[in-house]
Amino acid sequence: MANAECPICSAEVAFEADTEVGEIVECEECGAELEVKSLEPPTLGEAPDEEEDWGE
């Protein structure tokens, strides 16, 4: 399983086998919501904050 570094606390975050780009994962160390930026190489970024909204 691939690992990536948490951009907030630099802890190791493990990717599941079926992790997809764009998926939201949580850093077990600091609990931050992270977004899978790429699989090759495994990279994480901060997930955009929660904005409640609707479209038609």
């Binding site: 764009g22 939201i24 955009p48 929660e50």
Partner: protein
């Protein structure tokens, strides 16, 4: 001043609606119509090989993922087929209607979301390039010019962002904010259900009356899917000064008149 939102789902009878609204306009009632077009949009999008992708946000609200191609199809159906066919129905009845989207004259102006947090196949994801947005302002100058000229404004999404980009917005919310901005006495939400139903499968279980204080629980316990947005919209409209909102049935005869007479779910402050 009366704002009437009519949905775009199957089963809605636009001729009956046009008969009723034409009669009101002839009686001198200042009306503004807002319409949807979701079911025809799904049909056309599928035929054009770009089927609709509905997504559910992490807070459980369903919306259409609107990429560039989808927005073009959305404009073709809402601003083209639906809007002009509704305007044509009024012209046939001697009512001088004028069809506009929220981009025209920046009637509906707001902020593009761009990114959405959704749940898909059990996974939480970030979805980018979504040209949906939230209305923050209704510019009523153009609408008032039309009303003063004796025209019937027939409005439709999309809206426009501050920097002039078209964006998909919820028609119910647009109608609610329009009602507030125009100081409407009543905003009607007509759709293919007789009102807010206690039991979604039982069309006789219409909740007859609600106070704005009950909307929170109604949102949580009763309203499902699209009805959630109507309830949200109604709450905002009343909070901004609209006299009352009524959820009525757009499939029956004289749908506007009967909703005005309280047939459906009446929401008051």
């Amino acid at each position: 001043m009366l704002v009437i939102k009519v949905g775009g789902s199957a089963g809605i009878d636009y001729d009956k609606l046009a008969d009723d609204v034409a009669a009101l306009v002839r009686d001198g009632v200042r009306c503004v119509l807002v319409h949807g077009g979701s079911s025809l949009t799904n049909e056309v999008a599928t035929k054009l090989g770009h089927p609709p992708r509905m997504v559910t946000s992490v807070s459980g609200i369903e919306s259409r993922y609107t990429d560039d191609k989808t927005l073009e199809i959305f404009e073709m159906v809402y601003c083209g087929a639906m809007n002009k066919q509704i305007v044509e129905r009024f012209q046939r009845r001697g009512v001088n209607a004028v069809g506009l989207s929220g981009i025209d004259g920046r009637i509906f102006e707001g902020v593009v979301k761009g990114t959405l947090k959704i749940v898909e196949n059990g996974k939480r994801k970030v979805l980018r390039g979504d040209r949906s947005g939230k209305i923050e302002r209704v510019n009523t100058d153009l609408i008032e010019r039309l009303l003063d000229g004796g025209y019937l404004p027939v409005l439709t999404p999309p809206a426009v962002s501050r920097d002039g980009e078209a964006m998909n917005v919820d028609g119910d919310r647009a109608a609610a904010m329009l009602g507030a901005a125009l100081g409407a006495d009543t905003v009607l939400f007509l759709s293919n259900v007789p009102g807010l139903l206690r039991d979604v499968d039982d069309e006789t279980s219409v909740i007859r009356e609600l106070r704005v204080g009950d909307l929170e629980s109604a949102m949580r316990d009763v309203a499902k899917g699209r009805m959630k947005k109507k309830v949200m919209g109604a709450g905002e409209a009343i909070a901004a000064g609209v006299g009352r909102c009524v959820f009525g049935d757009a499939r029956i005869d004289r749908p506007v008149r009967r909703a005005l007479d309280g047939e459906g779910t009446v929401i008051t402050p």
